[in-house]
Symmetry: C2
Subunit: 236 residues, 2 copies
């Protein structure tokens, strides 16, 4: 299974960005320097960099360089980045409470059906998580991960509390893109109480399917989001 060079460069840079080797707001090495580092041509390096732009990790400026994405006022959660990176990058104080899991179960949530194509995996690793910004709950998330090729996943804690980073570092699984459906719904009892809002308040509902570097390995998330204080932002 051969991984294209530009994907390797992309994953390597992403690792260095999320681990802090390249600081937020700082400049990445120039294209020519990256060419030397990875023994690639500029076109190949540029393809990796453009992917990182698409995923929201960097911005680029003509004549200047590639800047590691700076914080935004609203949480850039329509972009690819996982919760931990976004909150850290926006220098707000974010916490994640694991309410349930990880446990192994089947994906019985019927809401996902339109996103899943044909034969799906039998078993998934399941999480229920509540995410807070500055001690107020903002998102309530159900996550399903195929229970394949993830030895010891359930036993060991997440690296720095980040699912995406754990997958990248420990299992070399790079989350690369996402599709989602967005709706406004009235919060049900459970969601409302967890998000500390009134029942039937409007909440954002996101149904997500993440594509990874492993063929056929998709993550699924159902997210309820309180947007009173924080908006979800996206760029394109």
């Amino acid at each position: 299974m051969k991984i294209p060079l530009y994907r390797q460069i992309q994953a390597s840079l992403k690792e260095k960005i999320t681990s802090g080797v390249y600081e937020e707001g700082g400049l990445l090495p120039s294209e020519n320097e990256l060419c030397a580092e990875f023994n690639a041509t500029r076109m190949t390096v540029r393809q990796a960099l453009n992917e990182l732009v698409r995923e929201g990790y960097i911005t680029r400026q003509h004549g200047k360089g590639s800047t590691v994405s700076a914080s935004r006022k609203s949480l850039g959660l329509l972009s690819l980045k996982g919760w931990t990176e976004v909150v850290v990058a926006s220098d707000r104080h974010g916490k994640t409470l694991v309410l349930e899991g990880p446990i192994v179960k089947k994906l019985e949530d019927s809401a996902f059906k339109p996103l899943i194509d044909e034969e799906s995996h039998e078993e998934f690793i399941f999480f229920k998580r509540l995410r807070l910004v500055e001690d107020s709950p903002v998102m309530y998330e159900h996550t399903y991960i195929p229970n394949e090729n993830l030895p010891n996943f359930i036993k060991e804690p997440l690296l720095e509390g980040s699912l995406f980073r754990t997958l990248l570092i420990k299992y070399q699984i790079d989350v690369q893109s996402m599709t989602q459906e967005v709706r406004a719904v009235a919060a049900d009892k459970e969601t409302a109480s967890l998000l500390k809002i009134k029942s039937k308040s409007p909440v954002l509902h996101l149904l997500r399917k993440y594509k990874t570097s492993i063929d056929g390995f998709f993550l699924y998330s159902s997210i309820y989001c309180n947007t009173e204080k924080f908006a979800i932002s996206s760029f394109n």
Copy 2:
């Protein structure tokens, strides 16, 4: 002011897609054929095609070709999912009712402030539009366009009812990308009655800023969206 070749190819293909020269679901000419047509190399053509992918006009498949995506022209940069198949199959595209405008006014909607940088234009052309799919109202939209370099815009009707198409054909202004903030809110009286839902029902609120091929020329939209039947889907 020189326009890069790949942007010209991009705009040309976009024009042919939105005008129906290339049909929905059909294949675009192959890269090599486009190379011949535009006197460009494959890398240049591919850059144009990749931009169209990013904008959602086409999808590409290894070994096969570039397929024109459905449901782009009638609903701008929004793709609707859920009943889309029905809409496409019945060949009844969404309708748009202009409730108010175009008129010239200032941008007084304070909600836009976080999206606008520095000195903004004094005067904008303003629209209130209601969008329907299969005769049920789905979106209520306020649009602001800088009142600059748009001679006769207010006097003349939109080409085929499409704002983006009018800007592209009559004024060579190509809408290329967008940033937005997304919230779930309770519908106010006006919105609820227009969307034919109960007051205070949850609706999606989108605050958008569109970037165009003209430097400093941005469009702004505030959109309320009924997601009971249709979800907003996004790719990345």
